[in-house]
């Protein structure tokens, strides 16, 4: 039983990393109606920025973390204004291609600037273990779970209870009407991209100590987050987060108890889940169809 709980905690920790990125994907999908393939690479690039702040500028971890989030917000908004908006009226698949181009640019640029060699990225959490009633838990895992939950909570409170959050949601679901109400829609969508970039930066900074920092390290996280978003419903923020924790825990338990699923085969299993969900329940587990009466 104690073992089981340990695996669940480890799974929730990974799930938290996927959840923040999956939430970013859902935000962009709702705001721009497209899947942002560069979302993981934005997180990767920002993690390198944090790395530079910590290891080149010598700033303490949490200050670097905060500065990175500010940069992330501006960066996301800038990407929306400069790269995405010129394609606003183009078909969805063209915009998807644009995000793929962005993926290439960010991936190459990171290797160019910081070299493709593996880099050590510190964890803000101690290497201690905490024992509660015979269950041994990693402080690192608990820290990641805490940060991811805090992010998710802040995002939900922001959208639910603030005027800016309401305006961003309105701009996403009804841009034409929002303009008639005086809402600066383009600005709101940029803010959405900024917020998504912040989430992906958190995801990257939480994943880097676990996975080692290379220009490709977020591609796998992105794939899990895609699976999570599809599992939960690509338009449902709650669903995507729940899907991410489900995948994290599911994979952790699977590799712990099914021996043929080694650590390297976790991703193919997640992919199989994704394809299965598409087959059985295309809207995702928590996706819903909006009630509409005309």
């Amino acid at each position: 039983m104690a073992n089981f709980i340990q695996h669940v905690v480890a799974g929730l920790s990974n799930g938290g990393i996927y959840a923040t990125l999956a939430l970013a994907l859902v935000l962009i999908h709702r705001a721009t109606g497209t899947v942002n393939f560069a979302q993981g690479e934005m997180g990767m690039f920002l993690t390198y920025v944090a790395w530079s702040l910590i290891y080149s500028a010598g700033i303490t971890y949490w200050l670097a973390f905060t500065i990175t989030l500010v940069i992330a917000c501006l960066d996301g908004a800038a990407v929306h204004q400069v790269v995405i908006r010129p394609f606003e009226r183009r078909p969805e698949l063209t915009i998807v291609m644009v995000t793929i181009a962005l993926l290439l640019i960010l991936n190459g640029a990171a290797g160019w600037i910081w070299s493709p060699q593996e880099k050590f990225f510190e964890s803000p959490f101690p290497l201690d273990v905490i024992t509660v009633g015979g269950v041994v838990m990693n402080a690192q895992d608990l820290g990641v779970i805490g940060v991811s939950l805090a992010c998710v909570l802040v995002v939900f409170l922001f959208f639910r209870f603030t005027r800016a959050g309401l305006m961003m949601r309105a701009s996403a679901v009804g841009p034409a009407t929002s303009k008639l109400l005086g809402i600066r829609v383009a600005l709101m969508l940029s803010a959405g991209w900024g917020l998504a970039a912040m989430l992906s930066a958190v995801s990257g900074m939480m994943a880097a100590p676990v996975l080692v920092l290379t220009p490709n390290f977020m591609l796998i996280v992105l794939t899990y987050s895609f699976a999570a978003a599809v599992l939960g419903g690509i338009d449902s923020p709650w669903g995507a987060v729940a899907g991410a924790y489900l995948i994290g825990v599911g994979i952790s338990l699977l590799s712990a108890y099914v021996h043929s699923v080694g650590p390297e085969l976790q991703l193919p299993v997640a992919l199989a889940v994704l394809v299965l969900v598409l087959l059985v329940r295309p809207a995702g587990l928590f996706g819903r169809v909006v009630a509409r009466r005309v």
Partner: protein, 236 residues
């Protein structure tokens, strides 16, 4: 000086010209209607005012040119456009829809007051605040759209075919509120309608558009007796 003035306004959708030099004026406190057949350019005229179509010519609001302003800026000047099809956020709650009407206003007290006032006009909307807006009936959605517009504290209301797709009783109820707003609060209203009867009965002045031009204009009372209008729009 009229509150809203259009001088030789043209508008087009791509290669398609929808307005060929329309001029009209709406005095402060007046209710004005625009009548016309499908494709006469009624909706386009409203969209030219709110900046949601490419337009040329001169548009003045309160004496200031707005023909180069963005829709967002025009809305912030106090022009509330209730678009054709109502523009309800179906996915959001009724309450959120109402709140969005005043979301960009700085004076939060005034917003609170306006929300109360709007909900007083539409008790049925007040009862349904927690519901998803998409579940409202067509008539309720039209009321919600007007309530939301009122929350923006407008100086000018633009209503685009509010009667479209509504049951006759809902139309009557809607225009009763519009008349009250105009007569008791002095709200300036510019309404586009196909339902000429109710539009002529609810407004002071009327313009009739035909293929993008003003074909006829005059006090609504006079136009009610006008033979051409009777034949084409009133059907008797």
């Amino acid at each position: 000086m009229p509150l809203l003035e259009l001088n030789g306004v043209e508008a087009s959708y791509g290669p398609l010209t929808a307005l060929h030099g329309v001029s009209l004026a709406v005095e402060e406190g007046q209710a004005v209607s625009i009548l016309g057949a499908n494709g006469a350019g009624k909706t386009t005229a409203l969209r030219a005012v709110s900046g949601t179509v490419r337009r040329g010519g001169e548009i003045l609001f309160d004496g200031k040119r707005i023909d180069h302003s963005s829709p967002e800026s025009i809305a912030r000047l106090g022009i509330a456009h209730v678009p054709e099809g109502r523009g309800i956020y179906a996915e959001l709650s009724v309450q959120e829809n109402v709140l969005l009407g005043g979301v960009v206003r700085r004076d939060r007290k005034a917003v609170k007051r306006d929300i109360e006032r709007a909900l007083d006009y539409f008790p049925r909307i007040r009862e349904r605040l927690k519901q998803q807006a998409g579940t409202l009936s067509g008539g309720e959605q039209q009321m919600l759209a007007l309530a939301r517009a009122l929350v923006s504290g407008p100086r000018l209301l633009l209503l685009d075919e509010p009667s479209l797709g509504l049951a006759p009783t809902a139309v009557t109820e809607f225009f009763r509120v519009v008349r009250t707003l105009n007569q008791e609060e002095g709200m300036t209203v510019l309404v586009v309608e196909q339902n000429a009867k109710i539009a002529l009965a609810s407004t002071h002045f009327t313009y009739v558009l035909e293929v993008g031009r003003v074909a006829l204009h005059g006090p609504s009372e006079e136009l009610r007796e006008h033979e051409g209008v009777r034949a084409s729009y009133l059907g008797y």
